[in-house]
């Protein structure tokens, strides 16, 4: 029994190293993954809005026009990187952009948006991460495309890059 115990470090080490090796040799293109919610209705939720003391009703926000939903937080560096593309969506005005502020301090989030610019027409506060769980969010940033009849069309995990930005724009044109 005790002898087996001494083998744990090397087994663990081998496991970690094989993962590193695998990640080194595979072609690591950040790819979109199919969501279980794809082509299904947007999960319903009610929460506070970041901008005013009013409540945020998901049923009022989704289902009127094509919408982009972006999960973000001020502590998340990749969110800062992709912010320019989120602003891009808002500028082109083809879609409405909704933010969901994930596990964050609302005051900080407001300041953050003041500094980097605010592309969101409304921001829902997801203080304890419950909305994210309902949406099946793995980690932030994460972005969803919702059609005008409140159905999830596309999902992207990780920061939006130039390539993904173009791709999402193509899908938007198709859904129109």
């Amino acid at each position: 029994m005790k002898k087996q115990f001494f083998k744990i470090p090397i087994i663990f080490f081998t496991f970690i190293l094989s993962i590193f090796l695998y990640l080194l040799i595979i072609d690591r293109n950040p790819s979109e993954i199919p969501s279980n919610l794809l082509n299904k209705n947007v999960p319903k939720f009610v929460t506070k809005s970041l901008f005013n003391s009013k409540k945020f009703f998901s049923e009022e926000e989704f289902g009127n026009e094509t919408t982009i939903v972006n999960f973000f937080a001020t502590w998340c560096k990749p969110c800062r990187d992709e912010h320019v593309y989120i602003k891009g969506f808002a500028k082109e005005k083809k879609v409405r952009v909704i933010g969901i502020n994930y596990k964050d301090d609302p005051e900080k989030a407001i300041q953050w948006l003041k500094e980097f610019g605010n592309p969101y027409s409304n921001v829902a506060i997801d203080k304890n991460g419950k909305i994210a769980i309902d949406w099946g969010v793995y980690g932030i940033p994460e972005t969803f495309l919702i059609s005008s009849n409140a159905i999830i069309q596309y999902r992207h995990v990780g920061p939006i890059t130039k390539k993904i930005y173009k791709k999402i724009n193509l899908i938007i044109e198709k859904t129109d």
Binding site: K3, I10, F13, L17, I19, I33, K103, Q111, K114, G158
Partner: protein, 626 residues
């Protein structure tokens, strides 16, 4: 010409490393080993200084100089630019390895020839692995033809005095652990047949490594604090974690070595910790240099580097852990450890440090695990670390206050309680006073302040009672931890932040300070131009306290902007201003932070360093007596 000489010196150091490996393995006579060790040291020194020379004279026929330097760069940064890039930093890494190699060589005496030779054999292996890596994938002496007239310049946010000495300090830390690693592997390979006090050999190296890691990490945090302009000093970035993890294990190692010295128990545990701390340093290098994780510190990416470091890590870790699984039984003892004793408290500290380290490790590689198994990319952020690390580490700090009071083997509970009772009162009182001053209730805040003064008052009491059996080095280092916790708690709990757009001649209030935006000027630096804001700070009695002048710099050569925060510091708080983008009409985005007690982080780190230095000194003295 100089570049070829440098390259030649690098190859010669490889030759000497191989020579040392075989001499030490065959246990040839001391003279041959001595030639190898000294040759290795001299030629790695030579190649390193030749690279510095190339950077100073701006020889742009050398790729490394061309890519990282520029004639207009100030001399200090021409020199620090040598290790501010991947290739040059590898040369520094090799140099530090050979310096520690030399110190291992100095351990030779009449009784330990076999043991030290075995250690030098492994140290030579580690060294030659890194030299081959440098020559094959990252040779800093590579030439370009035709030579360029000027260089590409050096990332301006790295042009900073703290960051000039931060990497060398960290490398002394990482690489110091290589000596502990070699000693541990030698001890395992020889299977306790030599009967040498290997733990006494290991301790000065571990203490040195730990001391330099502490100050190195602190300087990195200091740099992040005033240079990144985000008002914070720690971001749980993968690279920060890569330096924190070996530090946590080295902390555990350092304390268990004391138990081994005094009681001869925990030997297997120490051998394993020594191996793991160095492996974590190498894995940290792998994570940063291979581009497998991205971070602000990421160097130029090259997949072949990743494969090489990974293969080398596999050899080092595979061999040492294989040895451990087979041979550690020679060091295991069945001595019973009492929970309520000095060694018991050290064991608790150890277990907690290892758990914290695993937690940070998990957080760092979790995105990689997720990506490997599900193909998703995620980011693990501050909330994870704050909610896991704080509750785990708090009991360790509590134990840290009592641990030094306890006696070896078995401590008397009642007597200990009598000793600590006044401190509990003092600590609670101070904590209450703090909350009256800052008037913002928070559980973590209470916990942090309590723990901090718990440590400070206990250690001040040691000094007051002149307990000679407590080492002054330990008291100093522990006091430093107390200050550190004070600073960390203050700055994270009571920080106030304002991000506003301000026009000239407007003002804003933060905490009890009124900040008046007076003017914006253009200033010209040695290799940048800057917009400099002029802010006047008044207190609530309308007395002027200071002028703060944050800059927004533009470096034309590398085409970068950086923001230089301007900070007013005293023992109670920092006022921190960053000038963002803007113009005369619309005003400028200004970020203002009120950061309480931040200076205690730096005071704490320096005190820890001092304690570490004292301990290095006393451990070296001890070593001479053996």
């Amino acid at each position: 010409m100089i570049a070829s000489l440098g390259n030649f010196a690098l190859w010669l150091s490889l030759a000497f490393a191989i020579f040392q490996y075989f001499c030490a393995q065959k246990k040839s006579n001391l003279n041959l080993i001595s030639i190898a060790v000294k040759g290795l040291l001299i030629f790695s020194l030579l190649s390193f200084f030749l690279l510095i020379f190339l950077h100073i004279v701006s020889d742009f026929s050398v790729l490394n100089v061309y890519q990282n330097s520029h004639t207009t760069k100030p001399l200090l940064y021409k020199i620090s630019g040598v290790w501010g890039n991947h290739e040059g930093s590898m040369l520094l890494w090799i140099l530090v390895l050979t310096i520690f190699n030399y110190f291992i060589f100095k351990l030779y005496n009449s009784k330990n020839f076999t043991f030290v030779s075995k250690t030098l054999e492994f140290q030579a292996f580690v060294t030659l692995g890194f030299i081959i890596f440098t020559i094959i994938t990252s040779n800093p002496f590579e030439r370009i033809f035709p030579a360029y007239e000027n260089g590409l310049g050096f990332n301006p946010i790295l042009q900073d005095p703290a960051l000039a000495i931060h990497p060398p300090l960290l490398y002394v830390g990482y690489v110091g652990l290589s000596a502990a690693f070699s000693i541990s592997v030698a001890a395992l390979a020889l299977g306790n047949s030599e009967n040498v006090p290997w733990y006494n050999y290991m301790k000065p190296f571990v203490v040195t490594a730990w001391t330099f890691l502490s100050i190195g990490i602190a300087l990195g945090a200091l740099w992040a604090y005033y240079e990144l302009g985000w008002g914070g000093w720690w971001f749980w970035d993968p690279v920060e974690n890569a330096s924190l993890m070996p530090w946590l294990l080295a902390t555990a190692l350092l304390h268990s070595l004391i138990v081994v010295e005094k009681r001869k128990s925990l030997q297997t545990w120490v051998l394993l910790l020594a191996i793991l701390s160095f492996l974590l340093s190498v894995v940290g290098t792998f994570l940063v240099r291979s581009g497998i994780l991205t971070s602000v510190h990421t160097f130029a990416l090259d997949p072949s580097r990743g494969i090489y470091i990974l293969a080398f890590t596999a050899i080092l870790g595979g061999y040492s852990l294989f040895l451990f699984s087979g041979k550690s039984k020679f060091y295991s003892s069945n001595k019973h450890l009492a929970f309520f004793s000095k060694e018991g408290s050290i064991l608790v500290n150890n277990i907690i440090m290892v758990i914290v380290c695993s937690t940070v490790f998990l957080g760092t590689i979790y995105p990689l695990l997720i990506e490997a198994f599900t193909n998703n990319k995620i980011s693990v952020g501050e909330p994870y670390y704050n909610s896991t690390v704080i509750p785990i580490i708090a009991p360790a700090i509590l134990v840290m206050g009592i641990g030094p009071l306890l006696s070896w083997e078995k401590a008397n509970k009642l007597e200990t309680l009598k000793k600590i009772f006044p401190n509990i009162l003092i600590t609670s009182l101070i904590t209450a006073i703090f909350f009256l001053i800052y008037r913002k209730f928070s559980f973590i805040g209470i916990l942090g302040i309590f723990l901090s003064f718990w440590i400070i008052s206990n250690n001040l009491l040691f000094i007051y009672k002149k307990k000679i059996n407590q080492s002054i080095a330990m008291i100093t280092a522990h006091l430093g931890i107390g200050f550190l916790i004070l600073g960390i708690t203050g700055s994270s709990i009571w920080q106030e932040e304002k991000i506003v757009r301000m026009r000239i001649n407007s003002d804003i209030t933060i905490n009890k300070y009124n900040i008046f935006f007076k003017d914006v000027d253009e200033v010209v630096g040695p290799n940048y131009v800057a917009l400099q804001g002029d802010f006047e700070i008044y207190d609530n009695k309308k007395n002027i306290i200071t002028n703060l002048q944050p800059q927004n710099r533009f470096y034309p050569i590398t085409n970068n902007f950086t923001s230089e925060a301007s900070i007013h510091t005293n023992l109670f708080r920092d006022l921190y201003i960053v000038l963002g983008e803007g113009n005369l009409e619309k005003g400028w985005v200004v970020r203002i932070y009120y950061n309480p007690l931040v200076i205690w982080i730096w005071i704490g780190a320096f005190t820890i360093f001092l304690g570490g230095a004292l301990s290095v000194n006393s451990n070296l003295k001890k070593l001479k007596k053996i």
